[in-house]
Each structure stands twice: as structure tokens, then as C-alpha cells.
Symmetry: C2
Subunit: 245 residues, 2 copies
DNA sequence: GCCGACTATTTTGCATTCATTTTTTGTCCT
DNA sequence: AGGACAAAAAATGAATGCAAAATAGTCGGC
């Protein structure tokens, strides 16, 4: 039960300048991107065994670059590499999820604190825009739109922190959680929605005042509450699935 | 100037249960551990080019497992992999260091907050012991002893957070910074020493009261101050190197 | 009929080999 | 002599081959 990539945590890659594009020269790099998406999007069932050969012909490459990509994904924590027994999609226990949410809370909390030091008025206005947009989705019970706007707000805060290292770490953890979201059908309870909206107002308020320490607290609590909702949801799935208008 | 492991950050490996041992079955895993230490300890000069062949015969293996290990190290951010141009030790700019310190500050800040929820009296007492020990080293101007005790205190706080995911991430970032410490001879200024001691008192105080939010703030500031000291030190090296008694 | 041991097939881990690309060296021309 | 071009050498990226381990399948025993 020991992973090949053992006790050391892998933080993340260099800032690498480019934020969003995914051009990639080398084959194994290309494979890495594709495989990561493939796993994150939940195309492989939890804990499923995936023979290398099968992936090879699926991707049309030989085993060497594939294995290199697998090692990296294992270091990222998306899959497990059991010695002589192949790669498995990493199955997250409830405890793992709790830990992940807490780390995300810590990172966002940090992002908020740093953002207060550097954010511009224009950026705040942009976030306010997203906030109102999100509020609209909330009123219309549009879960998907709400969710997206919400994500963009949090990403904006991370971006405003002006810290590529943080951004990379954030993206990595977000990816791990996203996989769970894809697999389990993450609907949020209505009551939590209202709470979340109120919390977001407080976030904006603290951000406007550049109250770093305060914002840090609020963001942590906000994510903590998200965590609780998520865990409860996992315990008893699909309660109060929102009707799309 | 693009790394093969591109924009995505690699967070870190699974908890993997075992905290400290480094038994490793697979060859590439063994190689990974040895290479990581080798790099972290600064045996390779910054930005130096290291031909694979040379590493292979140094480690007595073929290129395949070596390259797998290199990919992982690149994902961890310790080295850079330039397409068709080999591996280079990642050179951290001053900005990179600032970012790293800030992320460390965020993680420790989080650790403190979580620790307040779960830490036992016994653990607090143990940390107090370390604190007094550190104070002794401080009085004796024993930088090395001071430094070690200090590190153990921070590790204890992270351990008390009861979050293996956080612990792994922390270890990864700590490794990146440690490399700089090995290379540049990190002496701390005396004035900063006194400040740091006071801050540590405040940390202990907040910890005893389980004041999570407060501790979070103090730890962040503490690390922020460390950051400032480190950056200043890099700018004008070895000022006030402490005489060992 | 079910459980356990033995064999065959598959799969992983690593070494070796091949094809490009890069870097170095050597030579020639200005 | 200095620089540019060209060829050789070396290094990287990927594919293939081979040995060891694991899985599955079968047979035999109880």
C-alpha cells in the first residue's frame, strides 16, 4: 500500500510565465496535459486499474512518455502508483476531502490577505461585477451559472494576490477537488446558497477596505462552510437538487 | 524558456501514512529520493546543466528511471526541464523567493489555525520545551542550535494541525527554500533574532489560548518578517555573522 | 462443490536502441 | 586573425526488448 512517489509532497511547477495556453512541444508534456484532464474529468472510475498498454494505444504513443506522465500525475496526487501493480486513480476518503478543503481554505485565506496589499480599484470593480452576476444566477436558481461566477470570483482573488507560486498550488488542489465534483454530482443545498451569498458580501466588503487580516478570516470560514456542506452532501447524496429554470 | 512541465502546479503526493522513513522498493523511487536530497543540499550549482549520462553513471542506473525522477523533480519545482536542452537546477529569483516565503507564511498560518482546534496539552508542553531550548541557544548565540529548535517548533505546529495534505505541501515548499539556505549562507541578523524570540512568545501564548484566528495572524506576520530578513540578507550577504561561542 | 496449488499469460520495471535535435569542433573564406 | 559555415560529436526524446513480478486460469485434492 505504498505509493512509488512517497512521503514528499510535490508543491508545484514554476510560474512558467504563460498563464493559460497549453501549447506543448514535447510528447510527454502533451500526454501529461491530456491525461490530467482525462483523470480530472472523471473518465476513469475511482480506484480503477488502468493498464499502461491500454492507455498507450488510446493515446497512440509508446510506454516511455506515458510512464513519465504517470509519475508526474502521481506526484501531483491525482493517481497512485503501486509498485509492480500499476496506476490507480487516487480514491479520496472523506478525511482526504476534508484535508483538501482545509488546505484550499488556507490558500484562499492567504490569497485574500495578499490581494489586499496589491489589488487595484479596477480589479475590485471587476469582482463586484462578478458578484452581481452571481447574485442574478442565485435569484434565478441557476446553479451552473452561479457556480461558474463563484469560481471566477475566487480565481480573481487568487490572481490579485500577485503570486504565481500560490496560483499554481491553488490550481493543483482545485484540480483534485474538481475531480470529486465531476464524479459525485455536487449539488449545493439551498440554505447554504443564501449563506454563501452573505459571506460573499462580507468578502467584498473586507476587500474594498483592504482589510487583509479580516478578509483572511472570512475567506477561511467561507471555505470551511463549503467543506461542511460538501462533506454532508457526500454522506447523503442529492438532497434538494435545484430545478433548472 | 518554457519548462516541459508547464503551467500546472503540482501540489503534492498522498499522505502515504509513514511520516519519516524512506524505504523504497522501486529503483526510480530510490533515485528520486537521492536526487532530491542531492539537489536540495545544493550539490549542483544554480542553473548548472547536468547531463543525464553523467547522473546515470553517478547513480549507477540507466536513463529511463533517471528521467522519470527528473520529471517529478521538475513538477516539484526544484529543477527545470528545457525541451531538448536538458535539466537545469531551478534558479530562484528574488521574486520567486518572496513568493515562496509568502506561501510558506500562508501554510503556517493555516497550520496554526488548525492546530488550535486539535492540539493536546501535551503537545503544547512539548512545544514549550522546544521554545525554552531555543531560548537557551539564543542566549548562547548558538545559531545552529537555535535554527534547529526553531524548525522543530514550526514542524510541531504543522504536525498538530492533523492534516497530512498540508504537511506534504509544507514539506515541499520547505525543501525549495532549504536549497537556497544551503547555497547562500543564511546567517540571521542579531536584531532579527530578538524580534523572532518575541514573536515566538506570542505564538505560544495564542496557542495556549487556542486562539486560532489570532495565531493565524501572528504566524503570518512572523513568516513575513522572516521573509524580509532573508531578502535583505540576499541583497547584502553576511552582515553580522554570529560568532559561535 | 469449494478451496488451494501450479502453470500460463499479462503487466510492470528497467535497459538498450534508434531517431532528432543541439552543441561543439574544425575548416575555410574574407 | 576573426567570423561564418559545415561536419562531427554528444545529448535528448521516444520506441523497443527483456527479465521479474503479478494476475488469471486451470487442475487437483479434500
Amino acid at each position: 500500500m505504498k505509493s512509488t512517489i512517497p512521503d514528499t509532497g510535490v508543491p508545484f511547477a514554476p510560474p512558467a510565465g504563460n498563464g493559460g495556453d497549453r501549447q506543448e512541444a514535447s510528447l510527454h508534456g502533451e500526454i501529461l496535459l491530456r491525461l490530467r484532464d482525462y483523470v480530472v474529468e472523471g473518465n476513469i472510475p475511482d480506484g480503477a486499474r488502468v493498464p499502461e498498454r491500454q492507455l498507450c494505444e488510446m493515446l497512440g504513443i509508446s510506454r516511455t512518455p506515458l510512464r513519465e506522465a504517470l509519475k508526474v500525475l502521481a506526484a501531483e496526487g491525482l493517481i497512485e502508483l503501486l509498485p509492480n501493480r500499476g496506476a490507480r486513480v487516487r480514491q479520496l476518503s472523506q478525511r482526504d476531502l476534508e484535508e483538501l478543503f482545509d488546505v484550499m481554505a488556507g490558500l484562499e485565506s492567504l490569497a485574500g490577505r495578499l490581494a489586499c496589499e496589491a489589488i487595484t480599484d479596477a480589479e475590485i470593480i471587476a469582482i463586484e461585477q462578478l458578484h452581481y452576476e452571481m447574485y442574478g444566477h442565485y435569484l434565478h436558481r441557476d446553479m451552473h451559472g452561479y457556480f461558474q461566477a463563484n469560481q471566477r470570483i475566487h480565481e480573481s482573488i487568487v490572481a490579485a494576490a500577485r503570486n504565481e507560486t500560490l496560483k499554481a498550488a491553488y490550481a493543483n488542489f482545485a484540480g483534485r477537488i474538481r475531480r470529486v465534483r465531476y464524479s459525485a454530482n455536487f449539488a449545493r443545498k439551498r440554505q447554504r446558497w443564501a449563506e454563501a451569498m452573505r459571506e460573499h458580501e462580507a468578502i467584498l466588503d473586507a476587500l474594498r477596505r483592504r482589510a487583509g487580516s479580516e478578509l483572511s478570516d472570512i475567506l477561511f470560514q467561507h471555505l470551511r462552510n463549503k467543506r461542511t456542506a460538501a462533506i454532508e452532501h457526500l454522506a447523503e447524496p442529492q438532497e434538494d437538487a435545484p430545478a433548472s429554470p
